[in-house]
Symmetry: D2
Subunit: 327 residues, 4 copies
């Protein structure tokens, strides 16, 4: 089975949501208190996916709000340089700042982050800054769950999804759950289900699906999730189980399993975004689901062995070479 | 055509949203500045509809949040006395107050209101205060648009609608647009369409449908509205055109027109709520759409000739007698 | 001892702070739940004091912010009609409403109130709406403690006090403590001491002085209070002990006691404001402290026997007649 | 003339206000967009002054609120290591973050900063976290103007100043004006004058005094400032005029001028804080005002030639050596 995309479009993928700044520990294998230098990268799940997709050759665009400062300039410039269309990235005029993520890399198993997400520019994207004329030029609208955390970004996303459905643009929902800025788990579940029910493809970890279903972590199971969501719009669900690999379910009843690739893990950040961009690259290029799962896993394996999430996004050759090595 | 309700239910209708206080000018035909005395009534569109329905003999329940003060006590007591089940009316524990509406009755044509809606208790209804076990006991969930204006009440309503759909409860959406507390027209349009698309019946004035479609007042037309909403869940739409009467459209393509009854107008408040309660009474009791339109109009004609919105709700006999007189 | 006022001034007193709406139970001796009618009056401590002073013949002015609605119009009109200069009452342009106080009169001993103070217009008075040219025309600046509860009204009052001191205007601080809108007792104590230390006269109940000193109710004593405040600007302190009467202390070491007058109590509201206006009337007119205490008590005795706080403010004749009767 | 300090105290100086994180461009002489690496330092005016004072040999303590995260840990650890007593640094329990300052060093003349000050921990210092027993152990309470920008930190500072005055602790007010987080210039002026009037020593640039006096930049003059503040508590005023040097005025009428030292400027950050710490060191050690002005200028000259504000704070030997060289 493969997803049918509308071929007559200028963009393969338009992502909507946050584009932020990562400040990654330059000295690692130590607590952040002892890290004295930080390296700056563009970050944020949908920005990373757009960057990853663009590096793989997809034609990507981005809808989001960036600050009117040096960090905002850097974000736009960087994304533009990797080939992303930034014409719909709006510059905030009210003094909101870029989200920041300081990473702490104590060891490959112990990574933590320190987030600055208070009143950040990306959550101030307004519905009237979402343009139908832009969205309808794309095969895919990629929605990041975090963009639903607060108004008015929440309404901007609800509007974007509505416009995508009206214009036959596939809605791909990356659950991308981050506890910051959500008022409660119940609120998260309400908006996650609302958008998941209206999406064509949903991608997330098992824990994120539990969140969407308002279950305690570990309470959910794939069968129930599949039964629930295939009663609505989705035709493909990807559920990731960490080191146990990932599963893809199709509405027609097929199940596929993808396995994780062996790699030298430096840190765990960026795994999900690199997975999503390679998976999307594969399905947009008409590859079958099994191959797409391999692309996702190979891409993730490459990124977790490197220092950044965005800068480290692999090329098609690197992915194919890893698949060729490990099968 | 008539709507099919699930007959095996304890309640005919459960309304969700605000129950507030009306303070109606005791001395009228003058500006409010000169009104020195105000009479207290229960108010708020969904509360009025529940009260009106109950007085007509429907079995009604209510989901909402009321303040922990004398006004909250009065609201609950009054609603209970007219026969409404108040077991799911939650008492606020955070000091929020009841919404207030002072009415000014300068003349039958010049009525205005002065609203207190800042941080009112009803907008603090939480999603976890909405119970599936309660909603599934009803034939109808009546949703008032104003309850969508702010979080967490907004999410409580989205959850209630989702539970109603899951449990075969008809969702009836009274648009009930009030500019207060909405952040913008665009935000209103986003949530109004979201809920309208998931409802079985939508009732509103032409202006309110324009708001839902994010159009300027007067820009919309019934044909476009009907085309849009019948692509989604609704099976019946009622669009009210003031003195020109109201139209009912069915998904099967029928159109009915209801005319306004002559009456001695004292003030215009309460017309919409009395209309909705009598219309719902009629369709729950299996009357045809034409008769339901007459019930709505007759009920409205009676209420606008009296001083209050809630207290003045008519009986079936009064409605039938007016219909018998004027046809 | 008597206070020396600058005689060369247009106004005897300019009050700063809130002017609101009282909605007094028209049917009383019952819980508010059973009160169906409310009578409207102007209310709010500094407004009442200005009204009371004006009815006694003082030339009064008012600095405050009122809503741009029917309640705001009524407040300004009423105050103007009793002779208060309203040229420095600013009309709010941001949709803030008048504060409301619903009174419940169960019995003379059991009175309670239900306040609407959320985002009210009076707390939005801006520092730049306080004019030096106005303040310097007065003998007295009367400051109400409640106006310190929130920014920007807090800063407007701090500025007004600073301008009064600069221009030899006596600052009279009515503590007027209301728990609503204050963030904490500690915050209250900080601003109450700040202003009390800069005032010439402080008037309050023993409980209010406890609040100013950040003590638990009942912990404070007059001696400590007097020692503390006479180290700063005040020259006269009035401390009220309810039915036990009131004490006046002067910086020169004199102590006076005033006794309460017998009266037929209807409700307790308005006692403090009527006390303050008659006390101020007396000291402005050069009466000695003992007589001023009698004026205050007599005025309070008259107001608590009547239905309103503002409308019921007595004339000089009524006060003198009561003093003549009871001594 | 020299300031008399209470000699019987455990601490020379206790500073109150913010302790934050500076992220200084590791690659400089370029716009921040092109800076890819940032070096972490402790920052924030009162923290820098405490660090500078401590490195000069004063016994310093600090009152402030730090986040419960890696940045908070680093701040406390660093300050403790340079010898500051951190027993009154409170760890925030509500998720507030450390303020951040990214510095951009385009050239010695073109330095700008990018601040993260939204809901930062330091502005959440509560009045009840300010302890009289601690403050009364110090000769000096150093107050930073920025700590007045928002409640509850504002009230914590007002309380600290009141406790200092009560306990014969000299209040030294570093105006330290930062536009961020202040609601308006008028609000700034109100709180700046309030605290300046209650201080013993005030230190600031001419522009900062203009802000305190609610004047446009450049409108103020030292004579008017001196006339105004010497009517209140201050006995010493330092007014800095950038490259034109600084002036010290004493209540007794003396005026001293200090000149700037020649140096190789790398960036302008940190000049004010290093000035204040060396000036305070000098006056605490009984040096005369002229010498104190030299200490301030020499310390500033050293810090602007180095990369950080805190880490670069000089020793007494370095300062004396520069004075010896340039006189």
């Amino acid at each position: 089975m493969s997803i049918e995309f509308n071929q007559d479009r200028n963009y393969d993928i338009i992502a909507i949501g946050r584009a932020c700044i990562d400040l990654n520990a330059a000295e690692y294998n130590r607590p952040m208190e002892e890290t004295m230098t930080f390296t700056k990268y563009v970050g944020g799940s949908p920005a990373n996916i757009a960057i990853g997709s663009s590096k793989l050759g997809l034609k990507a665009g981005f809808i989001g709000k960036i600050p009117n400062d040096q960090h905002g300039n850097f974000i736009k410039q960087y994304m533009s340089e990797v080939g992303i269309d930034t014409s719909n990235m709006v510059v905030d005029q009210e003094g909101h700042k870029a989200g920041l993520t300081f990473t702490e890399i104590k060891s490959p198993e112990e990574c933590s982050i320190l987030m600055y997400r208070e009143d950040v520019a990306d959550l101030y994207l307004n519905p009237d800054e979402v343009n139908e004329d832009y969205i309808k030029q794309s095969k895919i609208l990629l929605v990041s769950g975090t963009a639903l955390a607060k108004s008015p970004s929440r309404e901007a996303v609800i509007k974007a999804v509505s416009l995508a459905r009206k214009n036959d643009v596939k809605v791909i929902f990356e659950l991308d759950y981050r506890p910051y800025t959500w008022a409660s788990k119940e609120e998260t579940a309400i908006y996650y289900s609302l958008i998941a029910e209206q999406s064509d493809v949903v991608i997330g970890t098992r824990d994120e699906y539990d969140m969407m279903e308002n279950l305690e972590e570990g309470e959910g199971n794939n069968e129930a999730t599949v039964n629930y969501l295939f009663n609505h719009s989705p035709e493909l669900l990807v559920i990731k189980h960490g080191v146990d690999g990932s599963y893809a379910y199709t509405k027609s009843g097929d199940v596929y399993r993808g396995l994780a690739y062996k790699t030298q893990v430096l840190k765990t950040f960026g795994a999900g975004d690199s997975y999503a961009s390679a998976f999307l690259y594969a399905i947009v290029n008409g590859k079958d689901i099994e191959t797409a799962l391999k692309f996702g896993s190979a891409s993730a394996a490459i990124v977790v062995s490197k220092h950044s999430s965005s800068e480290a996004m692999p090329t098609v050759e690197e992915i194919e070479s890893l698949i060729a090595q490990q099968g």
